[in-house]
Symmetry: D2
Subunit: 259 residues, 4 copies
């Protein structure tokens, strides 16, 4: 299937590893030039090199924490007129509700909700003026099914989802779509880290912690990053112009609700 | 993007024209052999011929109303082990709630909700046993946003959605996904027919009725059938295995709700 | 709290026992005259007698299956201008999806979805003309969280929910509200019957089956029928006029979704 | 209807006027002792006096902005073991998305989302230990139907909704319910202020601005504060123990979505 985006330009936050990297691979394969971002220089440079070699597109490295204004500046310096933007970042650690400090609230809200929106403020007008834009956020399935141990995650992320939905209502008239991917339990470093937290917290083995992760998914397995990457690529396609304001659950069919 | 379904076999109800035809084109292009169905023999035969010529796949005609048991028999005779099934059919006409007769309820529920489920009963077990299946229903955006003039449409269709969601919870463990597409106002014969109904009912011109359709869509245009067709193709892909029980709105971003 | 409905008249389907009876008690206590319905004459007569004695309101018996047209006739003969209508009825038995016969589909859809809507057709116009109406359906929490073993329940019930939502959009301008209660696991004969089905199907004791029911509810207990009855009474109150088209989950906080 | 909460104690944020005041009146009438809060001393003192006179309950004034830690301290000093908490506060002004400053994001998130959660952290444990609690937030219908001009409102409020939903899942086992009311267009000072903003922004008369507000509501009128107050009282009742994690829309039936 030809996605009709060859030659487009994308900024992908937190894309040197994990789900962000999978998104970069999938659109680079379709001929999109990418800006790769991450906090570890070696990872970012290596990702760029591999993407260039595999797909023959431009891959520009921007090293730094994508929640910082100066990194937003650098991303836009590397790609002043992005056609595609991936909002992505590290999720917070599980914390009991009563143990969340005022600083942790402020910091997490800033990183997870406000910072991506400040970046959207800087790109959406140009996308609308140019008549093409695809903004996609990687959020979490938990925003529709909140877990009391993850308030720091689903609270700000749900706020982000709501603001993006509001924006989608006017942007779509300019061929700018805004959609959110809601993954649950993909086979990335994040789930390995979560398994280690569970090991310590509950005294189980790593294998047991991993088996619990699998057991929580109705598909009976973790997701493969390239499954999310290809969904991202489809949502960014020319022919996905009529789909906006959607929250796609990529959770192995695990969500209980009908909508 | 390679969807990984070359050589698969699909049964597509009501696929000689409109949205169903667009779905058939999109997967035939990916190398899927298709069973084409419709009530008008000439249309079905012509569609098969065109699909064969364009995509080099097998295209088998089954003429008849896809809500009838004997047509279910014929569809399964033409393709006993389908990998992909499209549940699709004509929507009912707008009717004021008070004017719906008991017979109209019974007939519409039978055609729109019960008949597709009887067909699913016949195919889902085989898909699970073979470890691959993609069941997709074309429903209507109205199931999430009911219009009192369309009770005959969103009532049975919402019932169908609910049953399919329930089934998706166990099927996904066997790599059988079940998803629903919720279109609103695609540029097909259906919308032309709806515009003519509005002409008569309200005494406006055809152009005015069409302009109202466009005005009701936040994207500022009707959807193109191939946009829905390619979304269908993606949902049927190998890499969409982790997405099930979803209701994808293809409505030009028009739905007001956050979820 | 004065609910402002003293002297109003209500038709309550399936109200001689269980949740329907609890609804009747709660509004009779507020001075509403009630029509009590059930299939067992002795139960209906006894309920009427007890309600009259306890609350000093008129209680009129109508014996018969409330899904039948002749019983609709009798209900309306007993109360030609109802202010309040409770749509209620027995839920279907759990059935594996593959084992549902065409007749079971047709029969259940007729009883659970079409029949209540035919009754609504007969009362909604009068309510709108008189400027007061409260239509409440008792459905099931499963309509938002479908269970593959209960397709016969959540399918038709979700269809009913959708049609009622559509109707609510125009009725509210005439002070006619339409809402749905979504109970999960109340301590009535229904749950005792379900426990007995589980005993047979899985070879556990009755106490084990009941303990499983409790364990499935986040509140750690089954609901008390009078909790649902009083919620019904509030939804029927004068001051609930601004709330319509709602689905209130009465499930001990068990639903996982945010909306 | 006896709500079973006579003698309970409640802290109500922002309750000297408008919807908060209506909530205070409705539960004071049921015999609940109330802590009244607001930023204008005269209003708070007058509200306390009127509530005492009308309902014979204790009414304790706490003057100050309820988003401040020192006001939280004062509220808890006035009522160290609240049975009922109303989370309420002034909504932000409409602002075009592109014009929202980083400071406005930070300030609004702090006031609308983080501050109420910090207060919940201080009361929920005690409620659980004592085996009774009713936490209710007044949010906005917009959290389910976001308007791009109100990002500052629905973003943080949706975040709050999500965290409260997560918390409700464990609290309900201790007879502590957490629910949210979603009003749209009640006849309070807030809507008069909004009408004045519309006058200035669009050059219409006050009467035209008010007529537009009414026209946006399917009920054909604005809500009456006491309708929300009595709904709050019911949600706080003993018999509402089985209903938690709900978002009740009080919007004159205006929400388009089925759920």
């Amino acid at each position: 299937m030809d996605l009709g985006i060859k030659g487009r330009r994308a900024i992908l936050m937190a894309s040197s590893r994990g789900l962000g990297r999978a998104c970069a691979e999938s659109i680079a394969r379709e001929g999109v030039h990418v800006v790769i971002n991450g906090r570890t220089e070696a990872d970012v440079l290596q990702a760029c090199e591999e993407i260039r070699a595999a797909h023959g597109v431009e891959a520009t490295p921007v090293v730094g924490d994508s929640t910082l204004t100066e990194v937003h500046d650098a991303l836009l310096a590397a790609c002043p007129e992005p056609d595609i933007v991936l909002l992505n970042g590290e999720g917070p650690r599980p914390t009991a509700f009563g143990a969340i400090t005022p600083d942790a609230w402020e910091d997490t809200v800033q990183r997870t909700m406000v910072s991506p929106l400040l970046f959207v403020q800087r790109v959406i007008g140009g996308m609308e003026a140019r008549g093409f834009g695809r903004i996609v956020a990687i959020s979490s399935a938990m925003v529709k099914s909140p877990n009391p141990l993850m308030s720091l995650s689903h609270g700000p992320r749900l706020g982000l989802t709501g603001v993006l939905k509001g924006l989608s209502k006017t942007a779509v008239a300019h061929n700018v779509t805004i959609n959110t991917l809601l993954p649950e339990r993909f086979d990335t470093g994040r789930q390995q880290q979560m398994a280690k937290l569970v090991m310590k917290a509950r005294g189980v083995t790593y294998e047991e912690a991993r088996a619990e992760q699998v057991a929580s998914i109705k598909a009976g397995r973790l997701g493969r990053p390239e499954e999310l990457g290809d969904t991202f690529a489809f949502v960014c396609s020319a022919q996905a112009a009529y789909m906006s304001g959607q929250n796609l659950q990529l959770d192995g069919g695990s969500y209980e609700g009908v909508f």
